[in-house]
């Protein structure tokens, strides 16, 4: 079966590469200016909280000094710049606004999907609220607003600030095209994780101590959970730059992870669940864990029939 390639034709990719290369310095400046521009329009006061005088900017080299530990996630999604502003209110916990320019809406969406627990809010292009923390994505920005301690007044201010910031960013970011390849039946949309770094995959689903699927910035991938008739499965889709790369990745995966796969690429795991893999063109689909073989095979079939 022939599948529609997700990337452009080779000559188009070369053209895009040349264009990006020539425009690179200008693009960086434009992005930095844009976050600066956003800064000018942000509120200096929210309810009883007032912005502290010194806003901060961090780049990929300095972000580790600001975010200890978790910065690697933002780096994995190609963070360009982070803007930070603190709002103070004497006798109340500070509120911290961080806006990450992720360089593209795809990466902003991706870093948002890293943690999607919490109450869904209609803010930006998608938002979550949990005690002490509001996050949303819009266009190429990921926005985090947290309070150092949850109080009713601080919670109110966090929401108000979120509304104001969201109102200053046009919610026009495109989502990754690979999401469209996920079968919809039984899909837990809250479980979707968009990624292109093996560290992020291993965080959500530990596969191996090596990058056995050759996941990189050139391979957009999506991980999602399914439930059908009380049976569960996890599906991973990886879009490689070309069929040869995809074939190589599949061969490596079968060798290291599913050497006992049957003719349909399925194998019974040691925990009684099933894993299976199938490749068509440059799209690799892997059912990492499925309660039944039938569900695994059915998911793979639907991936390649859903174009």
């Amino acid at each position: 079966m022939q599948t529609t390639p997700l990337s452009e034709a080779p000559f188009m990719r070369v053209l895009i590469l040349i264009t990006v290369f020539l425009a690179f310095p200008m693009t960086l400046t434009a992005r930095a200016d844009s976050l600066k521009q956003l800064q000018q329009n942000l509120p200096t006061r929210v309810l009883n909280w007032t912005a502290e005088p010194a806003d901060q900017f961090y780049d990929p080299a300095t972000i580790f000094s600001y975010i200890d530990g978790g910065a690697e996630v933002y780096k994995a999604y190609h963070m360009q710049q982070c803007f930070s502003r603190r709002y103070a209110n004497p006798g109340a916990p500070a509120i911290v606004l961080d806006i990450f320019d992720m360089g593209s809406s795809l990466n902003a969406f991706g870093v948002f999907t890293h943690d999607t627990d919490g109450e869904v809010l209609a803010l930006g292009q998608d938002a979550r609220l949990k005690p002490g923390w509001l996050s949303f994505w819009s266009d190429r920005f990921f926005v985090s607003i947290y309070t150092e301690e949850e109080t009713p007044a601080a919670a109110q201010a966090v929401r108000a600030l979120g509304q104001q910031v969201a109102g200053r960013i046009k919610p026009q970011g495109a989502k990754p095209r690979i999401l469209a390849r996920l079968p919809t039946e039984g899909l837990d949309s809250g479980s979707i994780r968009y990624l292109h770094h093996p560290v992020v995959l291993n965080y959500h689903y530990y596969l191996a101590d090596e990058n056995i699927l050759d996941i990189s910035h050139r391979t957009p991938a999506v991980l999602a959970r399914y439930q059908r008739d009380r049976k569960e499965a996890r599906l991973l889709l990886v879009d490689y730059p070309d069929p040869q790369s995809a074939e190589k990745a599949l061969a490596g995966f079968l060798k290291d992870y599913l050497p006992d796969a049957d003719s349909r690429g399925a194998a019974l795991l040691e925990n009684g669940r099933w894993a299976a893999a199938e490749l068509q063109g440059q799209l690799l689909a892997v059912v990492l864990e499925s309660d039944t073989r039938q569900l695994a095979v059915s998911l793979l079939a639907q991936v390649f029939n859903s174009k």
Binding site: I67, D68, G69, G70, A71, E72, V73, Y74, P93, V96, D98, K130, P131, G132, W133, S135, S144, Y146, T147, E148, E149, E150, V199, N202, Y203, Y206, L207, A208, D209, E210, I212, D256, Y257, L269, E270, N271
Partner: protein
């Protein structure tokens, strides 16, 4: 030709029916006892005092010092604190105190000061004592250290599930990120590096206002700290961490009103026991001595 490195996969973990794989699979020796031998239980002292803190940001240094002395004396069955310190350190030692400077929840300076003061009183030369965290790989005292003291607050952690005593040594490596795979399961390997191996004489897990849940990029909110008012002290870092982990897990369950597993699961504690032979992680192999305040002790 060198042997090809074997890829360790999730299926290896599933095969062993455990979260950790055999040391031989990792190309590392299983350190510890010969077959049939069983090491004695690791002693861990949990000391608590309701007066030491009323919550995040508050601390009574004098109370903290008393807790430290009481715990160490009990840990080593010593007649008094001075004798206890003498059991662990000699005046000729060069001592690196591995601290933790994480902004929202650092090792309390007053605890560092109390330890340094006791080393000085023991006769250790001031120039042979250093307190450091991120600069330890360039710190001359740490470079020639004959003894290490490991002291840090316990907290939840984005990559490893828990920021533990075991994890506190990650700054001894040049590439900390390389240990982030599988919830930092391989952290125990750091403890076998030459600049660390066999040098740690004392581990102090600070449980004054632990962080039991993390949110956002900074993984912190005071909302998820509480005044537990404790110190966990042991010569076995694994046993101390395992004890702290049980308390954090119990607090999470109590706070959220449901089973709320630490995420990601802190595999490195169990791995440090079964894979790297650094100590004992199972409660039935830990002799836990509780001192002081007992209310809401969670363990």
């Amino acid at each position: 030709m060198p042997p090809q490195k074997r890829v360790i996969t999730r299926r290896d973990f599933l095969r062993t029916g455990s979260c950790v794989v055999m040391g031989s699979l990792m190309g590392l020796p299983l350190i510890g006892q010969a077959a049939g031998q069983s090491p004695p239980p690791s002693r861990v002292v949990l000391v608590r005092d309701a007066r030491v803190t009323t919550g995040y940001g508050s601390l009574q240094p004098a109370t903290l010092e008393n807790m430290l002395d009481q715990a160490l004396t009990t840990l080593l069955d010593a007649p008094d604190p001075a004798s206890a310190w003498q059991q662990l350190f000699k005046p000729a030692d060069v001592v690196g105190l591995k601290s933790n400077v994480w902004g929202p929840l650092p090792t309390p300076a007053s605890l560092e000061d109390a330890i340094v003061h006791r080393l000085l009183r023991l006769g250790v030369d001031a120039q042979n004592i250093a307190v450091d965290d991120r600069g330890i790989r360039r710190n001359p005292v740490f470079e020639k250290a004959t003894a290490l003291i490991n002291v840090r607050p316990m907290r939840t952690h984005h990559w490893s599930g828990l920021g533990t005593l075991l994890k506190n040594y990650i700054m001894f490596t040049s590439a900390p990120w390389s240990y982030h795979g599988n919830a930092c399961e391989r952290l125990g390997a750091i403890w076998h590096k030459p600049q660390v191996a066999g040098k740690t004489r004392l581990n102090i897990l600070v449980m004054l206002t632990p962080l039991f849940h993390g949110i956002g990029p900074h993984h912190f909110s005071r909302t998820y700290t509480w005044p537990y008012g404790g110190l966990i002290i042991s010569t076995d870092p694994v046993a101390a961490d395992a004890t702290g982990a049980r308390i954090i897990q119990a607090k999470r369950n109590a706070y959220f009103g449901t089973e709320k597993p630490i995420g990601p699961r802190p595999l490195h504690i169990e791995a440090a026991d079964t894979q790297f032979g650094l100590g004992q992680s199972h409660p039935d192999r830990i002799e836990l001595i509780k001192l002081g305040w007992n209310q809401d002790i969670l363990i």
